[in-house]
Amino acid sequence: VKLKRTLTMALATSLLFVACSSSATPTPSSAPAATTPATSTAPASAAASTAPASAAPLAADPAEAVIPNVEANAEIHFWTFYLSPTFDNYIKATIARFQQTYPTVKVDWEDHQGTFKDDLNSAFAAGNAPDVINLSVSEGWVSEYASKGLLLNLDDKVPQAVKDIYFPGLWKEQLIDGKNYQFPWYQGLNVELINKRLFAKAGLDPAAFPKTIDGLPQLCQTLKDKAGTVCDIRLTVSDLIAQMVYEGGVKPISDDGKTFTFDSPEAVAWLQMYVDMVKAGTVDNTTLTTTDDRTGLLLFSAGQAPFYATGPNLIRDVKSNNAELYADLATAPAPLGKSGVTGKGLMSISVKGDTKFPNASMALAQYFTNPRSMVEFAKIVSVYPSSAEAFKDPFFSTAASAIEDSARPLAGGIISTYADIVPTIPKKADVNDIVLKAIESALFGDNPVSAQQALTDAVAKANALLK
């Protein structure tokens, strides 16, 4: 009986151990990422928990009232994405200044986070969508809503002098039939965060990080052979066509927009590069096709990845999670793809198409994106303005001591070259889903298909959607 009892207790203890073995593992941040074509950058708040508080609020300046004929007694609703509570002071102060500049307008602000898109879809369906909306350019939200006729065409309504404030490449992003539907807001830079210790173990110099995407396979092979680690590279799962265009120099659709062409030799070569890396076992397969930017960032923050492409604002995440790694951190510009274009915009502000107060709404969207407001924002988190005028502020010419701010003096030059070179893709979400499955069929499984076959099949399926 004693033996039986002992065995029972032992069984119970072992079952309990198995049951509880996962309870000590950490949980990731739930903040979703907004991605750029080649790499990824999160919304400003995703890493700004340690950002310093804003200085004294700016005084209102009548010169900031650049939108004419603002409606009297306008009450407009403004939604932002992932900015509260970190930037409550900044947003509220800017709204207060706006209301002094345009005294006939009242603004109601709400911040939405993980459910932003679901909330916005529901609001549009219910007919109570906000007048002014913070939309992600990098995720393609502007073109998505604009193509459904839900946003206000700004090209016809905004004075030319106001359009000229912004970098031309940013003003011309996410065009639908050649028309713009967004005021460019805060921008990010694509950088590679580098774990110097793992690079040293592999005998690599962070300063010699590949300048172009072609150099990644060899780099990852060296890291695997000499440091025993694999690369954390993430495909932009939500917008693979854009990644093909920027990285592979691929022309995704014919000029008349009637036939997809992303099975060209350029596209096959682009996919083959990733196929070869997966075959060689030099990349983390889970990170490669995850939708969650945090998966790779978390591995990097834990010191288990040699490099990770993200925005400099997320260096603060590394700093707060792993101070030891932060002290051993280097950065390099993200490698260029075959398109030669460094990147595209991050965040924008759009106006609802059927708003009762179009001028007041445009005024608010423009106000948040004007040089003065943007410089204030950049001072509290490592995001960058969308206009040349803002970069003339002495803040951007001062050398920064922290690594996360080290790109500040170069940011204006880089962002001025940003451009959206992806043509309008009809039924974009469906096409992206088809491309994702095609890429997975070439990368994974017991019998992966060839890159050419995967893309040819995908083009056939995507073309069927256009009929």
């Binding site: 009892r5 029972t8 207790m9 069984l11 119970a12 079952l15 309990l16 198995v18 049951a19 509880c20 073995s21 996962s22 309870s23 593992t25 950490p26 949980t27 990731p28 679901d118 879809n121 529901s122 549009f124 369906a125 809503y145 459904k148 839900l150 694999v230 799962v237 076992g281 983390d284 397969n285 889970t286 490669l288 096709t289 995850t290 939708t291 969650d292 998966t295 591995l299 834990a302 288990q304 979400a429 469906d430 889903d433 994702l436 499955k437 997975e440 069929s441 990368l443 994974f444 499984g445 017991d446």
Partner: protein, 291 residues
């Protein structure tokens, strides 16, 4: 003799009827309607007749999802066997056994998302499982568990079983404690060993609980979503290796914004679960008749 109409009982019923009407009946009718439309949530639905259903039956991913959902039903017998075994183990009068009973129940009261995330980290390239296997010298390079198509569904099923055992074993434990001790004494006198004792006494005594657990766990398995969503990072796994009916429904509705098509999937799923519910009712009726 004429009966006088009294409004009072109907007035008492009205709030409940109104709530059910708004939150149950109307949504069901709306989903049926949307299943015959092309609807992207933000623009008004457009009537397309049976197009969504025609498309559904030609959709390979739908059939794959349906297959995965049926494969997922394997968790039901495994859950029943393991839960009964655990209930028998913790039914013994041992010092501190109440603590074990409470601890086994912890996954049942933990959030499924939290549990799923914990498991995702367990099976990461640098996670606990690979670390143990590497430290024991069983593997050299880490296994990329969650990006290996053939492993995604089994890992999700393992998670469901692990998270469900505690809850279902409590049901079986209650059933075991209702079985008269005299039956076990009689079995011992008849020469039964421990295994035979449970085979001939415990299992027949647990029949109502087995039917109940079988029905609710199979319905839950058909509707599995959380485990897949969290483990696969919202993609459904590479090559749709973890896509189940409800996950596919979610992806169509909220990722691809095909709410009309998703409604057609929902109606099909409703038909399948209705069949399961009817089997359930038949089993319960037969059980009542046997008593």
């Amino acid at each position: 003799m004429t009966r006088r109409f009294r409004a009072t009982p109907y007035l008492f019923l009205l709030p409940a009827v109104a709530l059910i009407g708004v939150f149950v009946v109307y949504p069901i009718i709306a989903v049926v309607y949307y299943s015959f439309t092309d609807y992207d949530i933000v623009r008004p639905p457009v009537w397309v007749g049976f197009d969504n259903y025609v498309q559904l039956f030609a959709d390979k991913t739908f059939w794959l999802a349906l297959t995965h959902s049926f494969i997922y039903l394997i968790v039901t017998p495994i859950l029943i066997i393991l839960s009964i075994a655990l209930a028998i183990v913790v039914n013994r009068k041992l010092r501190g056994i109440h603590i074990f009973r409470a601890l086994y129940f912890v996954p049942a009261v933990s959030g499924s998302i939290a549990i799923g995330l914990s498991w995702r980290f367990l099976f990461d390239r640098t996670g606990f499982i690979n670390s143990v296997l590497q430290s024991l010298g069983i593997i050299h390079d880490p296994i990329q568990w969650l990006s290996t198509p053939s492993l995604v569904l089994p890992i999700a099923m393992l998670l469901t079983i692990w998270a469900g055992i505690g809850y279902y074993s409590v049901i079986f434990l209650a059933g075991l404690q209702n079985i008269p001790e005299e039956l076990y004494d009689a079995a011992l006198i008849d020469g039964c060993n421990d295994l035979q004792k449970h085979w001939h006494v415990s299992l027949p005594g647990l029949r109502p609980q087995i039917v109940f657990v079988g029905v609710i766990s199979s319905l839950a398995a058909l509707k599995v979503f959380d485990e897949i969503y969290v483990l696969t990072g919202t993609t459904g796994g590479v090559l749709d290796s973890g896509v189940t009916m409800v996950f596919y429904l979610w992806r169509q509705a909220f990722r691809l914004e095909h709410a009309g098509y998703a409604a057609a999937i929902a109606i099909t799923l409703l038909a399948i679960t209705l069949v399961f519910s009817m089997v359930n009712v038949r089993l319960l009726e037969r059980q009542e008749a046997d008593r």
